[in-house]
């Protein structure tokens, strides 16, 4: 085995020798397997490796598993040590019920000051508990008599207490009790509920998820009012300790899938999770594909609809995007709107999307293949005008196409980054002006502009951005194939593509289902949007379940 040398990328370590260990810990597989040949097919093994979250949290030296100390002074010392140089730490000593010394610890930045004062401090100071010296029933009576709407949480070790503090809790330590109580008084800081920018609909609800997971759960609960809607809480990220929620409807989602999702999520050991993208790559079956194997949406109705279809959704705190799995290839071409529109119109729209997705994928390569290899296939009059348009152009058609496609993608990317008001103008005007000027200067031929702009429009027709990006990406190798070998090369490229698609799975679900493997009833919601009276979502789920359980 070849020895691999690491440069010191770890800012926390000054010793080069320790890097290897550092990588081993942070790249979620043991040092011995890094860059070894086993890794090639160790995808599944890796995600299935279970490591309890406690173990991951135990990494920093400050959070020990130790039971809380008797003495408030000791606890304070330890807390102050742990939260050293944290300007927002508040440690306050109180005397509750006249003779119980209590130490309150919280991070000022995280909690709602008003609620703390009105909802906890006031009732706490007015609290009167008899026989405070009896330790056992003390907490029960304390909880029972405290007039606060906020249910407290018991904890007896420091690690847990610290965790509660950083999650926005107010932790009460009691003298000589070895126990602490935590009240979750989270800051209600959040943005307004708005219509999702990326998935606007004409007919349908106008609300979208926000960055706060509790609000997102509320939005979902409001749509599905059944106790069978399960929301299982987990955390990921050794440093960020990000809250995630696995949502599914009991008896609808296949247990195998739920288990798989939970198992893969708990196996993740990333430092941080800032969005769904982090998790998506970690839990999908094949990370090495540009095609989305997990759908992300910021629409509550889309999530609710998917859950009823028997899917599993994963909410991540800090992002308005919610992951839905397992999905198939065709999800990339579906929009929630399809279910709100008339079914004939919706079916037609789906076909339009399929057609234009094909255009987006193949148009440039068909143009290149036909004009450089198969001129006899072009109708004579078109051939003459194409030849006239190409007359003074210096580049071969393939180079021309690649240049213009790259320019188009650049303009699109620039449009995303620019401030919203100028973005659109710049991208459209840029495309037109650059296109026009390039044609007039004789650098690019006019038909290329038509092909590229039609391709661009076609790629915007695909509702799922991830799918649109995947298709845009594969356009380039296909143009190369077409430029090298004509239609022959193009069909070879398309076949390779099909093989790749057919090999993909989304949590065990074949990616091209229900077309391959074929399922007649499954096509009702893929090739068409069947009328609701025929389109029983339950049936869809049952089919899918069978597919998943008999792989």
């Amino acid at each position: 085995m070849k020895k691999r040398k690491y440069f010191s990328a770890n800012p926390y370590s000054n010793e080069i020798g320790k890097d290897r260990e550092y990588y081993a810990r942070h790249l979620y597989f043991p040092a011995s397997t890094i860059f070894s040949d086993v890794r090639v097919k160790s995808m599944k093994r890796r995600t299935n490796r279970q490591r309890p979250i406690g173990e991951l949290l135990a990494e920093p030296s400050y959070a020990s598993d130790a039971v809380l100390s008797d003495k408030l002074d000791d606890i304070e010392t330890e807390i102050r040590k742990i939260f050293d140089k944290c300007a927002d730490l508040v440690v306050r000593r109180l005397m509750v019920s006249a003779d119980v010394p209590v130490m309150v610890v919280y991070l000022k930045a995280l909690i709602d000051e008003g609620m703390w004062e009105q909802g906890l401090l006031m009732p706490l100071m007015n609290l009167e508990i008899e026989n405070t010296q009896d330790p056992v029933p003390f907490f029960a009576r304390f909880k029972a008599t405290l007039p606060s709407s906020n249910p407290p949480k018991n904890t007896s070790n420091m690690q847990e207490a610290v965790r509660l503090i950083v999650h926005g809790g107010i932790v009460l330590f009691f003298e000589s009790r070895k126990q602490a109580l935590s009240f979750h008084i989270d800051d209600q800081l959040q943005r307004q509920l708005e219509e999702p920018m990326t998935e606007a609909v004409i007919r349908g609800p106008r609300v979208g998820f926000i960055e706060k997971i509790t609000v997102n759960m509320t939005l979902l609960r409001q749509l599905i009012r059944t106790p069978r809607l399960k929301l299982e809480r987990m955390t990921v990220g050794t440093i960020t300790d990000t809250e995630i929620v696995v949502a599914y409807i009991e008896n609808l989602a296949p247990p195998a899938v739920i288990e798989k999702v939970k198992k893969r999520l708990s196996a993740i050991s990333l430092d941080s999770v800032m969005g769904t993208g982090y998790l998506e790559e970690m839990i999908c079956d094949t990370p090495y594909t540009p095609f989305p194997l997990i759908k992300t949406t910021e629409r509550p109705d889309a999530v609710a609809g998917s859950l009823i279809e028997g899917k599993v959704a994963v909410f991540v705190n800090g992002t308005p995007m919610v992951m839905i799995m397992p999905i198939t290839f065709w999800y990339g071409f579906q929009s929630v709107e399809d279910y709100y529109l008339n079914f004939i119109v919706a079916s037609m729209l789906r076909w339009l999307r399929f057609l234009f997705a094909l255009f987006a994928f193949t148009m440039p390569s068909i143009y290149v293949a036909i004009t450089t290899f198969h001129q006899e296939m072009i109708p004579t009059s078109l051939a003459l005008s194409l030849a006239a348009a190409r007359e003074i152009v210096p580049f071969p058609a393939m180079v021309e196409t690649l240049i213009m496609e790259a320019t188009f993608e650049a303009l699109r990317e620039a449009g995303v980054r620019l401030p919203r008001a100028v973005g659109q103008t710049i991208s459209i005007v840029g495309a037109l002006v650059i296109g026009q000027a390039a044609v007039q200067a004789g650098i690019i031929s006019a038909p290329i502009i038509i092909v590229v702009s039609l391709t661009g429009i076609a790629s915007f027709l695909i509702p799922q951005t991830a799918m649109s990006q995947a298709i845009s990406l594969f356009r380039f190798p296909l143009v190369l194939c077409a430029g090298m070998f004509g239609l022959y090369g193009m069909s070879a490229g398309l076949i390779a593509m099909l093989i790749h698609l057919a090999s993909l799975h989304s949590l065990g679900m074949p990616y091209l289902w229900p077309i391959a493997p074929f399922n007649r009833k499954g096509t009702l919601d893929v090739l068409f949007r069947a009328p609701w009276r025929f389109l029983h979502k339950r049936q869809q789920y049952l089919l899918q379940k069978r597919e998943l359980e008999n792989p």
Partner: protein, 394 residues
């Protein structure tokens, strides 16, 4: 590691292959000379003269270049040489762009060349992969292919497209390369092509017209069919639909000419071959339905007896037209253009073996009976002839 290395190697090989093997037959649209029509002639000293009409895309008025250019949209180049493909190579030498035959609309055989035999041009037609089978074949009449290709045509930007459109609309006899070659190689069927000639239009410009059919005997041009003979051939060769036939149903009177014109709606031809007493015999039947287009007689076509009279006249005329045509091909051209031999082959396969070798000699002697039938299906919106008063209508 081994798998990684293998994967790398395969990747590198594939990428290498693409760049090594790819692109070898790539040609850009602006690197090819689009041949729109080609013509073959024979010079007086027996050399082959190949002419091509090449489209010049920049000279074609489009939206990009408003206002006409003075350039001609086509260029005709001629080269003399010995053999077909050698001339082609000579032609290529004159051009900065690669000759591209994929869009060739027509191929013209010069009259003299066709009379001498078209063998030399055949290889260019059949063997060259560039050459497609869907160009139309024409034979020049009273002129050379070169002059025909040089003739301007006002209706279309490119004259060859004009020829192609005339052929495609079947105003004349339309034969494509594949059909021509197939007829040429079949014993018992002789090829026919459209025949084009030069004529002066009203403005005095020379242009072309396709108004005849060229009859081949084997690989040599035997003659041309025109007028009623051409009509007879078109009736029998499945190109009867839409054909207009005028017939004299009554003598010319003071107000009427006595002519009724009909248009054929549907036509069915059948060739029946017989083998009796060791002699071949052919019966040809022609059935058609038509509609009355113009009635310049005094007959009221809503009356059944008048329609029957018209039908009889038409039938007679059709029979005469067809048998005249067959007689001409038998006596004058001795060329079996209707494919009686092929019908014999199909209907009397055993006897055909005996006939096959001497068919070309036998054909002129074969007795042919012609049966025709014409039905009037529609008589138009008015029954009586338009210009006559009620009393004058019969």
């Amino acid at each position: 590691m081994r798998i990684d290395r293998k994967a790398h190697l395969i990747f590198v090989l594939i990428v290498g292959l693409v760049f090594v093997a790819g692109c070898w037959d790539r040609r850009e649209m602006d690197e090819i000379a689009l041949v729109m029509a080609s013509g073959v002639d024979i010079t007086d000293d027996g050399q082959l003269e190949l002419s091509v009409q090449i489209a010049l895309p920049t000279a074609i008025p489009g939206t990009l270049q408003t206002g006409g250019t003075d350039k001609k949209p086509v260029q005709v180049i001629s080269v003399k040489g010995r053999a077909g493909l050698e001339v082609f190579a000579l032609l290529q030498q004159q051009l900065s762009r690669q000759l591209f035959l994929g869009h060739r609309a027509v191929i013209v055989f010069g009259e003299k060349f066709a009379k001498a035999g078209i063998d030399q041009a055949l290889d260019v037609l059949i063997r060259m992969p560039d050459s497609r089978y869907n160009s139309y074949v024409l034979t020049s009449y009273g002129t050379t292919a070169k002059e025909l290709l040089n003739a301007p045509y006002r209706m279309e930007v490119i004259p060859a497209i004009g020829m192609k459109n005339i052929e495609a609309a079947k105003y004349s006899v339309a034969v494509k390369v594949d059909e021509f070659i197939s007829d040429l190689s079949t014993v018992g069927k002789m090829p026919v092509t459209g025949a084009a000639r030069l004529f002066e239009d009203a403005a005095g410009d020379k242009t072309f017209q396709i108004d005849k059919a060229a009859v081949y005997r084997g690989n040599k041009l035997a003659g041309f069919l025109s007028g009623k003979y051409l009509k007879g051939y078109k009736l029998m060769s499945g190109q009867a639909k839409g054909m207009k036939i005028a017939v004299q149903v009554e003598p010319v009177r003071e107000k009427t000419k006595g002519i009724v014109t009909v248009e054929i709606l549907r036509a069915k031809t059948k060739v029946l071959t017989h083998w009796e007493k060791d002699t071949p015999r052919v019966t040809v039947s022609f059935e058609a339905t038509s509609r009355a287009l113009a009635n310049e007689s005094s007959l009221d076509l809503s009356k059944a007896n008048h329609v029957r009279r018209l039908e009889t006249e038409l039938t007679d005329k059709l029979r005469e037209t067809i048998s005249d045509m067959i007689a001409k091909t038998q006596r004058e051209y001795r060329s079996d253009i209707l494919g009686f031999g092929r019908e014999f082959h199909i209907q009397h396969a055993k006897e055909w073996k005996k006939l096959k070798g001497q068919w070309d000699e036998l054909y002129p002697e074969i007795p042919v009976a012609v049966a025709a039938e014409m039905k009037i299906e529609r008589i138009g919106r008015i029954q009586a002839p338009g210009p006559l008063s009620k009393e004058e209508v019969q």
